[in-house]
């Protein structure tokens, strides 16, 4: 009877955790952040273009990677948005929905993975606690509320890991493991490194079980399935397009940091490129374990973090250190020990070869082993408590802290983020498009692009006809993955995105759109422009101005 009750209690607790994860990710989904970043708009519009024409914005049929801003976006997320558009329409909610959904789907797989590979005494506690911490994790929540592919990739990776461990005893599940891992690789750039390395580490660790008679054929089937899924990716893997992100961001392609300007005879040693690159890599790699980054500063990117909130809560810090110590010392934790330590060491690698310090988007899989360490720390401390009443008080304190953390999430994600980070989420373009529709009619419109790439948001909110866009903004499709040249200016019906030329653009009657730097108050006065609309950020500062040139007034003057 007691066992039955315990079993149901576990399901109830897990359901409550799932509900918490649902609320923290679904509340104001599509509305907070209020803007729509250009990458989000680009992915959404490409999905719309695929739906309508079977081609991307440039006219390439079902691309393996999406050219977009010459950053060659990974395809999986875009293809996931496509079937949602007929249901929800082309909206901010739609483009962020796959992130939310796969963020939520990660929970059951994470729970099952942890409870399967941890020793029985600890399994359920660790699985539930880690799930709870993930439900309130600022790191995971941010990428579960916005259009970032890393979240979807994490889901495939965790699911693949789960089926791998199931497959050690039931080999047919190795096929599912191969399927999910194969889907993880094209889902996000960093998974191109993390998944293969983790696979090799796990294959080596469990080679005896995998090479037994019953398993070999399933490994073969899994490899074949994985190869088929990855074949399109492999076909383009040596093109400049596929390698563009790696090429532009990696530390080995740029001049190494730390060169000392000296004419000393030791210069060739102390300024040696290999030595400096290793040093640079180590500093970037260790930064992913740095407590100040984890608990105070968070990601330096203003779209990859929330104001006044780091990647983890400060209260989790002591448990993190305790849990790490426990993880390294206790050899009786089960298979989870090797898995967690391996993922802890491997997850930061792709992020650490890029020049940006502590980028949480590229190192998202790291959230899992770090939360497992925190959970271990909490369990270890709880089990050290001697008296029953102290344990009850500790549980109440813990739940109060979780409640406080939820309020902190609300404060940072909903209140502060909207006020302080709106410009970085490209807030205002939806209102710009509404204003253009209201004021422009058939009049030509010039949208200044000196400080951005607004075309993706314009076509997104206009739901502009993809065929027309493809026709007017075509590229050399034969060299889609190899030709890295790019034309920034775009034509969208009567709208052109380019820099405003104050000499020429005033000579005809048209609408000009720009930010407060492009179209200042002084320029409105000087050039006799008519201010049609002024769109403000939540903090009251000017986001965009929409003006009409006044050719008649200028001529009469």
């Amino acid at each position: 009877m007691m066992n039955k009750f315990k079993k149901y209690l576990i399901y109830i607790i897990f359901f409550v955790i799932l509900l918490l994860a649902f609320v923290t990710r679904f509340y104001k989904l599509g509305q907070a952040p209020a803007g729509l970043y250009l990458d989000e708009a680009a992915q959404g519009y490409n999905a719309y273009s695929i739906l309508k024409t079977g081609k991307d914005e440039f006219g390439k049929g079902f691309p393996i990677i999406f050219r977009s801003f010459n950053d060659f976006k990974t395809p999986v997320y875009i293809y996931l948005i496509t079937p949602l558009i007929p249901i929800f329409g082309l909206t901010k909610f739609t483009v962020r929905f796959p992130s939310f959904l796969f963020s939520l789907l990660t929970f059951p797989y994470l729970y099952l993975l942890i409870s399967n590979i941890t020793n029985k005494k600890l399994a359920k506690k660790l699985a539930l606690l880690t799930s709870l911490l993930l439900a309130i994790s600022p790191w995971h929540i941010l990428f579960g509320r916005t259009n970032f592919e890393c979240n979807v990739a994490l889901f495939f990776f965790i699911a693949g890991s789960y089926y791998f461990f199931i497959g050690l005893n039931k080999p047919k599940y190795l096929i599912l493991s191969a399927l999910f891992w194969a889907l993880a690789i094209p889902s996000y750039h960093s998974q191109r490194i993390i998944t293969p390395i983790m696979m090799l580490v796990l294959l080596f660790k469990y080679k005896n079980q995998l090479l037994k008679d019953g398993s070999r054929k399933y490994i073969l089937y899994g490899c074949l399935l994985g190869f088929i899924i990855l074949l399109p990716t492999l076909l383009v893997s040596f093109t400049p397009g596929f390698l563009s992100r790696a090429t532009t961001l990696n530390i080995f392609k740029t001049s190494p940091v730390g060169i000392i300007d000296t004419k000393s005879i030791f210069s060739f040693i102390i300024n040696n490129k290999i030595y400096l690159n290793v040093r640079e890599f180590m500093s970037l790699y260790i930064s992913y374990f740095s407590p100040i980054n984890m608990f105070v500063l968070g990601d330096y990117g203003l779209r990859s973090s929330f104001p006044a909130l780091s990647t983890f809560f400060v209260w989790q810090a002591p448990f993190y250190f305790i849990g790490l110590y426990y993880l390294l010392k206790d050899k009786n934790l089960g298979k989870i020990r090797h898995y967690t330590i391996s993922l802890l060491l491997i997850a930061p690698i792709p992020a650490a070869v890029t020049r940006d310090p502590y980028t949480t988007i590229r190192a998202l899989p790291l959230v899992i082993p770090q939360l497992i360490a925190i959970s271990l720390g909490i369990i270890f401390v709880y089990e050290k408590l001697a008296k029953q009443w102290i344990k009850i008080a500790a549980i109440i304190l813990f739940l109060s802290t979780v409640g406080y953390s939820l309020l902190k999430l609300y404060s940072s994600v909903i209140v502060l983020n909207e006020y302080y980070r709106a410009p970085y989420w490209n807030y205002g373009w939806e209102k710009v498009v509404d204003s253009i529709k209201l004021h422009a009619g058939e009049m030509p419109v010039v949208v200044d692009d000196a400080r951005g790439e607004p075309y993706s948001q314009i076509v997104f909110f206009l739901k502009y006809d993809p065929e027309d866009f493809q026709a007017k903004n075509t590229i050399d499709l034969k060299n889609y993955y190899t030709d890295m040249s790019r034309r920034k200016s775009k034509t969208i019906g009567n709208i052109e995105t380019r820099g405003i030329n104050w000499e020429h653009d005033l000579k005809k009657e048209q609408i000009l759109v720009g930010d407060s730097l492009a179209i200042s108050r002084e320029q409105i006065e000087r050039h006799n422009l008519t201010l049609l609309d002024e769109i403000l950020f939540p903090d009251g500062s000017v986001a965009f101005r929409i003006v009409r040139t006044n050719q008649e007034a200028k001529d009469s003057n």
Binding site: I269, R279, S283, L284, Y300, S411
Partner: protein, 273 residues
């Protein structure tokens, strides 16, 4: 040849330890005046002497008022570990209280406690953004300014990049000389030393110094150079880690040789810079 090999094997570990720990004091010496160097180094030496006689700690706040809280926290932690009698603690606290009263004004002016106008204005601005007064006050208040400053300092002191890469790739949050404390390869023996902290003979002493230093330095506006007090315990851990690596296996490993080469390059960089 065998004699040379024996000499090499005997001196290898001490040389590696020396190369590892010389960075920080050398860098402090090169980049500061003799007075500043002595003010930074003296508390570390007194801390080392306090292992035999805790009363040496009382001189620390006299030399450096910024470290006013260090002796108090150190003694309390040592008392927790039952490494000092109640009588000695009582005596210590009596002497300490006089020094505390004497040095408190100097400490206070260099701590996180004085009024911060900018931070206060930020709190006022942020509280306007909330519909709920409760939420506004819960997350934006005067206490939070001090707590945030304390946390920032504490986690900066716990940041490995602070010790091995001058905070690189991110900038320090308060003015800092950006001095190398250790060569980056020293991260390995230090980590091993931490993992095996339990096996070190003076672990209670080390933990007391760590907690005392981390907490007392976190109360400062700028802890730069005064964190040298951590040099002694960190050096012990590095030495322990190197010793562990040296005894790791019967098979020959070249870690020591590679480690020495990397450290020498770092030392040359330090001197040339």
């Amino acid at each position: 040849m065998i004699r040379l090999k024996n000499i090499y094997n005997k001196t290898k570990l001490p040389v590696l330890v020396f190369l590892s720990i010389i960075f920080w004091p050398l860098n402090l010496f090169i980049n500061n005046s003799p007075k500043t160097f002595l003010v930074s180094v003296a508390p570390a030496i007194l801390t080392a002497l306090s292992y035999q006689e805790p009363l040496f700690l009382l001189f620390i706040p006299i030399i450096s008022p910024k470290l006013l809280l260090f002796p108090l926290i150190f003694i309390l932690v040592v008392f927790y570990f039952k490494k000092i009698s109640k009588t000695n603690v009582f005596l210590f606290l009596i002497f300490y209280s006089f020094i505390f009263l004497l040095r408190w004004p100097d400490f206070y002016n260099q701590s996180i406690f004085p009024y911060d106008y900018e931070a206060q204005q930020q709190v006022v601005r942020d509280t306007q953004l909330y519909d709920s007064v409760f939420l506004a006050r819960l997350f934006h208040n005067k206490a939070k300014i001090r707590i945030d400053d304390f946390n920032t300092n504490l986690f900066s002191l716990l940041d490995p990049n602070n010790y091995f890469f001058n905070f690189h790739p991110r900038l320090p949050l308060s003015p800092n000389q950006m001095l190398s404390k250790y060569g980056f390869a020293t991260f390995v023996p230090l980590l091993i030393g931490f993992i095996n902290l339990n096996k070190i003979k003076y672990k209670e002493y080390l933990i007391s110094v760590f907690i005392g230093a981390l907490v007392s330095l976190s109360f400062l506006k700028i802890f730069d150079a005064h964190d040298f007090i951590l040099w002694i315990p960190l050096s012990i851990l590095i030495s322990s880690g190197l010793s562990k690596i040296d005894n790791l296996s019967n098979r020959k490993n070249y870690f020591g040789e590679i480690y020495a080469v990397v450290l020498l390059i770092e030392l040359v960089r330090l001197v040339i810079k």
